[in-house]
């Protein structure tokens, strides 16, 4: 169980880096995203790049930080045998996975542009969700 949480911690750290990069761009600290296709700028400039007035990337930062904190805490010996950290990781990453699915659908069907960094984050949150599901205790 601890191994799954360690994997999630590393993935969440990568997710924090990606989301922070996009967030720094959204608030103007980073001028142009290194994207290759230009799709990142189109996606980030679309009205869907903000939710309730807040850059979507910031929700990503917060989500990944929660996943990181929970997975690191859950990987410590004191909590390693407990099942609840993995359950919460599954719930949180499941919500993140669904949100990412929605954002990716927007990119494909509405914005008609793909942001590589967003897709990178989608891969990370999917891997976290799968790891969390794999780490859930099985009923015997």
């Amino acid at each position: 169980m601890s191994r799954h949480r360690q994997t999630i911690a590393v993935l969440a750290l990568i997710g924090i880096a990606i989301a922070t990069y996009l967030w720094l761009h959204a608030i103007g600290v980073i001028g142009v995203l290194k994207c290759g296709t230009g799709g990142c700028e189109i996606v980030q400039a679309s009205p869907y790049a903000r939710l309730l007035g807040i850059p979507v990337a910031l929700y990503g930062v917060v989500g990944y930080v929660l996943l990181f904190g929970l997975s690191v805490a859950g990987a410590r010996p004191a909590l390693a045998a407990r099942a609840w950290p993995t359950r919460w990781l599954a719930v949180l990453s499941g919500a993140g996975f669904l949100f990412t699915l929605y954002l990716t659908a927007l990119e494909v069907f509405v914005i008609h542009a793909l942001c590589r960094w967003c897709l990178g984050s989608a891969v990370v949150i999917t891997a976290i969700f799968v790891s969390a599901l794999a780490g859930l205790p099985r009923k015997t």
Binding site: L24, V29, V32, V72
Partner: protein, 226 residues
Amino acid sequence: MNRFYVLLGIVAAVAVGLLVYSAKQDTGGTTARGANPAVTITAQDSAFKGYVLGSDSAPVKVVEYVDYECPICAMFATVQFPTIRDQLIRTGKVQWRLRDYPLPPTTHRWSRLAASAVACASEQGKAWEMIDALFDHHDWALQKSDPTDVFRGLAKDQGVNVDTWNACLSSDRYAGRIQASVNAGDALGVNGTPTIYINGRELEGANRSSDLIQHIADSIIAARKK
């Protein structure tokens, strides 16, 4: 367990390093970013204030700093601008001034060439035709090869005399004028494209819809009538 924390530390260090590197690359100051000391700027270059659409008497003056290679600029030009042109510029509410702000070649390799292509078309009174053509056929921005031939074809399609345009482009005689525009943008704090100023105030945020610009323009006009 120790190996786990070492791995976390390595990933964190790499991530922080890349983020700091990216941030430093882009925040070297807008003046440093746009500066091009090799170009000489004359008083005539500085006197040029961009390509204008609309009446001088329009109550709302908009200035847009643009990079022709920028995908967001192209999206704005092709999706939002036709409505703005029809409903705000042609109705005399808004005067639109487009100024060159080519990003550095490390970001957009062909931006200055595109700006020169527009400047050379402007000699023949075809600036806006060329601007529209560059944005309408924006595939050139996704190709790695030199787009001069594409620009030439677009210029020809707009009725530009290609021989004169070729000579102009080869001379690079508008380099100073383009740089003067970049410097003017730097002085205002332009840090990306498109950057839009409405009666001197920057339109902030990612929303640059025609609806929003119309709303702001109508608000300005309504406030003037009071």
